[in-house]
């Protein structure tokens, strides 16, 4: 054992030294690896470590309310709670579940289902028991909350619309945003247009969790910023009144503007639809039913529906003719009941003619022949120029998405669209608001607003304007003495035996223009037939645009009754009742009967 062989000792020394150096090198390699992990790649692993331990839970913010000009809440939020139980030991889970079931009804088979889900769910992972707890259910759970060890109640909001059918087309609706925060975001209407103001900022809570997901402590929390409330210019009372009036017809639309500041007092489209289900759970059937409804309730007829404006457009033609000195107000044109252009005969609506007609009479009686003649002299370009000045062919900029801009036909448009040249007869049918011309009701109302506020820059708006904005609106005045002629003529329409005199003769004085726009070319022998003889979908659209009171113009009302037949018979009486409501207020009832009597007596 104790051999002291120096040879073997030095051999051993050599080998042992080599082995030690190898071990030292390997240890240094470990230090290098440690350096890479802890110094070079430290940041990456620090991030991974935080990802491991920190869960960010969003705190849902409250969306701003939408309030009418008269202080009625139109859209608000209902607080909802989501009830969930963390996956835990079976007996604890069973205990919590049965306690919950004793307070809110959970069917037995559902309880079994949750127990099955628990088996498949990792510990501390929440299982949703009920998604939308009512307030009543919430308070019942809150009462026994101290007995429950594994449940959590999460906050959420559902959008709630009051009077959704009347206001739906303006307010629009919301949907759950697609990202993980799942807050409400606007889909259409004011909800979409003012989404940035309404939406707010969600808060969050950073919670430290352990490896199995058990919440250990709150690290940090950021409170949510609730959305701003928005007040819109709609007067809830007027809106409801207008909707009730309009809904007596199958389909139609109405716009009421306050021309002093451009605010929209009411904007209706009939039929309306319930926006409440749209914001939460709408069934597929409900949705397809809405989409396939022949009356198209989803369409906002006041801003998305495009129609030939009919005689309402004569205002544009007459103003252009007077401004361009084609004719002076008092000059007359003889109406024989029709003209021949390009070999086609174009009839005045009054088959036996109006006789001698001046500018006033042309609007008062809505004489087609007069318009045909001045339009022939004006040419399409000038008509289009004036139509543009008065707001046709472009969006009015109202705060509802997807507004239509309509269509102003022109020589260039015809060439691009059909590759054929413009025909003279097209000018004259455009001048009476027919043919390819398409406008929206809000454009017609805006035209009246521009005329009666003497301001080409007039624009309708759903959001309360500050004084500065109102002043900006007044920057482009109409410098034309002919505006007076138009206003006088429009007054006569309603008060001096004009087309709307039967329904719109009032003390405060309505000025306006009726319109009936054909939806198709009349067949041989159909001319002069009563509209009631045609099936509904072939009848003319009925229009009336008006402004009142005469002395101090304040309100513009534009009414469109889809396939209503005649503007003077269908649209004008509705407008009259709305004006009465606007100007006389509660005395409306009384006046209504007066109007009816008046009409009856005139008919006699």
């Amino acid at each position: 054992m104790l051999d002291n062989n120096n040879d073997s000792k030095s051999n051993f020394r050599k080998t042992a030294k080599t082995v030690f150096y190898i071990t030292a090198v390997l240890f240094v390699a470990l230090i290098c690896k440690l350096f890479v992990l802890q110094v070079i790649e430290s940041q990456k692993y620090a991030t991974l470590s935080d990802k491991n331990r920190i869960r960010v839970y969003p705190i849902v913010q409250r969306r701003g309310r939408i309030i009418s000009a008269d202080g009625k809440v139109l859209a608000r939020n209902r607080q909802r709670y989501r009830l969930s139980i963390e996956s835990c030991k079976e007996e604890e889970f069973r205990k919590d579940l049965s306690l919950i079931a004793s307070q809110i009804s959970i069917p037995n088979d559902e309880i079994q289902k949750f127990l099955d889900i628990r088996k498949k769910t990792p510990r501390y992972t929440p299982i949703i028991v009920k998604d939308e707890l009512s307030w009543d259910e919430y308070s019942k759970i809150a009462m026994i909350f101290y007995k429950l060890s594994h449940i959590s109640l999460e906050n959420s909001f559902t959008r709630e619309y009051l009077n959704p059918i009347e206001f739906g087309h303006i307010i629009g609706y919301t949907s759950r945003s697609k990202d993980y925060l799942r807050f409400l975001s606007g889909e259409t209407g004011i909800e979409a247009f003012l989404d940035e103001q309404l939406v707010g900022i969600p808060g969050n809570m950073k919670i430290e969790i352990n490896s199995v997901g058990k919440k250990m402590r709150v690290i940090d929390s950021v409170a949510p910023v609730n959305g701003e409330d928005v007040t819109i210019t709609i007067n809830a009372e007027i809106q409801k009144y207008v909707y009730d009036e309009l809904s007596k017809e199958k389909a139609g639309a109405c716009v009421v503007l306050d021309i002093t500041d451009g605010s929209v007092v009411a904007l209706c489209s009939v039929p309306g639809f319930d926006t409440n289900p749209m914001s939460s759970k709408i069934s597929k059937k409900q949705w397809t039913d809405l989409q396939n409804d022949p009356l198209k309730p989803l369409m906002n007829r006041a801003i998305n529906g495009v129609y030939p404006p009919g005689s309402v457009f004569k205002i544009v033609t007459v103003l252009a003719a007077l401004d361009k000195k084609i004719i002076s107000p008092k000059d007359t044109i003889f109406c024989s009941g029709g003209v021949v252009v390009d070999g086609h005969t174009f009839h005045c609506w009054k088959r036996h003619g109006h006789g001698k007609v001046n500018a006033y009479d042309a609007l008062r009686f809505s004489c087609d022949c007069y318009i045909f003649e001045v339009a022939r002299r004006l040419g399409i370009n000038t008509i289009v120029e004036y139509a543009q000045k008065l707001g046709f062919g472009e969006k009015t900029g109202i705060e509802i998405p997807n507004e239509s801009s309509g269509l102003l036909p022109s020589k260039r448009w015809k060439l691009l669209r059909y590759g054929s040249s413009w025909k003279p007869y097209e000018t004259i049918i455009t001048a009476i608001g027919q043919g390819a011309l398409l406008t929206t009701l809000i454009q017609s109302a805006t035209m009246m607003g521009k005329i009666y506020s003497n301001n080409y820059a007039f624009r309708p708006s759903l959001v309360k304007k500050t004084r500065e904005n109102i002043e900006k609106l007044l920057k482009n005045p109409i410098n034309s003495e002919n505006i007076g002629v138009i206003k006088e003529a429009l007054y006569q329409v309603c008060n001096a035996g004009g087309t709307a005199s039967a329904s719109c003769h009032t003390e405060y004085g309505i000025s306006g223009k009726t319109g009936s726009s054909q939806v198709r070319r009349l067949k041989e022998g159909e001319a002069g037939m009563s509209q009631n003889a045609f099936p509904w979908h072939l009848r003319d659209h009925a229009f009336f645009v008006g402004c009142a009171p005469y002395k101090e113009p304040k309100y513009v009302v534009a009414v469109m009754v889809e396939h209503g037949g005649s503007g003077s018979a269908k649209a004008a009486p509705i407008a009259r009742r709305i004006f009465d409501k606007l100007i006389l207020g509660d005395k409306t009832k009384e006046n209504e009967s007066n109007v009816d009597n008046e009409i009856k007596s005139r008919k006699k």
């Binding site: 054992m1 042992a16 082995v19 690896k33 430290s42 692993y45 490896s211």
Partner: protein, 367 residues
């Protein structure tokens, strides 16, 4: 008599000063790591047991040191035979734990026979070579018996199955054979052949061992399963940064993202809290301890004690290296504890005995 005693005391303090400092630091760091792994709680946790094991370990260390090295020389083959028998018993009666038969139940305590086997193997090999003349050592056939002595327990441990301990026995055994003077050319050739034959060894592995190796080669293969442990360990170490997150401020280990945080992954726990600096200190202390073992082995006059100390140095090195490399994702996770730091009786016992043997060897030389 009195003179001898004073002389003895002086040696005890002077010669063993370095060993004691290294040992004290490692045990202290290990204790801090154990406290961290138990979230700072001392009582009623495994920290109590760990402290108990440190003290009983020190007693055993002293007991081994007090014995004359001649006893270990005389009984080397007996120790070997007894531990080998224990391994066989484990195979037959072993208590199944953690899916592997590694413990033998002695009634009062359970024991992993693969741990004492490591020391018994070194003793047996050292004993065998001490009787060979330098000439005999150059003969290849004289090495057949030591190779068999190494391979038999290795195969039993592999069968348990405990890939880590088997690899350590294998490595330690051949390390001693190499130190004893095995022809270097043949050794190098054998290593080359062994590496070439590695793929064939694949067929003898258990499914979980195959999985571990596959996951080691490609950690993304199973990030939620086995790869998860390694990934979480790397995240813990990496997120510690240069200075660490601070004592008891670890997140990975405290929030249980880290598996086996007080046993196999104790290095990770400490590195997360004390950073690169802490990790380096541990590695440097181990370099020091391994170096000390080698230094003692080189000072020894007898072949037996030289090979014994050298073998223990290799054992300590392999244990430390495999453990640290494994928690950093360099080697597959094979369940090897970190000497002196990891929680667990068997490992603590093995290395306290090792230190005792080293001290005994050093003391016997002087006397």
């Amino acid at each position: 008599m009195k003179k001898i005693r004073t002389k003895h005391n002086r040696i005890f303090l002077d010669e063993f000063k370095i060993l004691f400092i290294l040992l004290f630091l490692l045990l202290a760091i290990g204790l801090v790591g154990q406290i961290s792994a138990n979230n700072g709680e001392l009582f009623g946790t495994s920290v109590q047991n760990h402290i108990l094991r440190i003290f009983s370990g020190i007693l055993i260390l002293y007991a081994v040191y007090s014995c004359n090295l001649r006893i270990f020389y005389s009984y080397a083959y007996v120790f070997y035979a007894v531990t080998l028998l224990a391994l066989v018993i484990v195979e037959v009666l072993g208590v199944i734990r953690l899916g592997a038969q590694r413990w033998i139940n002695f009634g009062l305590f359970t024991m992993q026979p693969s741990e004492p086997m490591k020391i018994s193997l070194i003793l047996a090999l050292a004993r065998y070579y001490s009787l060979l003349t330098p000439l005999e050592i150059t003969e290849l056939k004289k090495h057949y018996i030591p190779i068999c002595l190494t391979l038999i327990p290795t195969l039993f441990v592999l069968k348990q199955p405990d890939l880590g301990s088997a690899a350590l026995l294998f490595g330690t055994g051949f390390g001693v054979i190499f130190l004893a003077g095995f022809p270097k050319k043949i050794f190098a050739t054998a290593i080359g052949a062994g590496i070439a034959a590695l793929p064939f060894g694949w067929f003898f592995l258990h499914d979980y061992q195959k999985n571990r190796i596959l996951t080691f080669l490609d950690p993304d293969r199973d990030p939620c399963g086995i790869g998860y442990h390694v990934l979480q360990s790397k995240i813990a170490i990496g997120s510690g940064g240069l200075w660490g997150k601070g004592f008891l401020c670890s997140t990975q280990s405290k929030l249980d993202f880290l598996p086996e945080k007080n046993t196999d992954f104790i290095f990770t726990t400490i590195s997360e809290e004390f950073g690169f600096v802490g990790g380096c200190v541990i590695i440097l202390l181990f370099i020091g301890l391994v170096g000390y073992f080698f230094w003692v082995s080189m000072k020894e006059k007898s072949t037996f004690s030289r090979l014994l100390c050298g073998g223990l140095a290799i054992l300590l090195f392999l244990h430390t290296f495999v453990n640290i490399a494994m928690v950093m994702g360099i080697l597959p996770v094979v369940g090897i504890p970190l000497p002196f730091l990891s929680y667990g009786g068997s490992s603590m016992l093995t290395f306290m005995v090792s230190c005792g043997l080293i001290m005994s060897a050093l003391a016997n030389k002087k006397i």
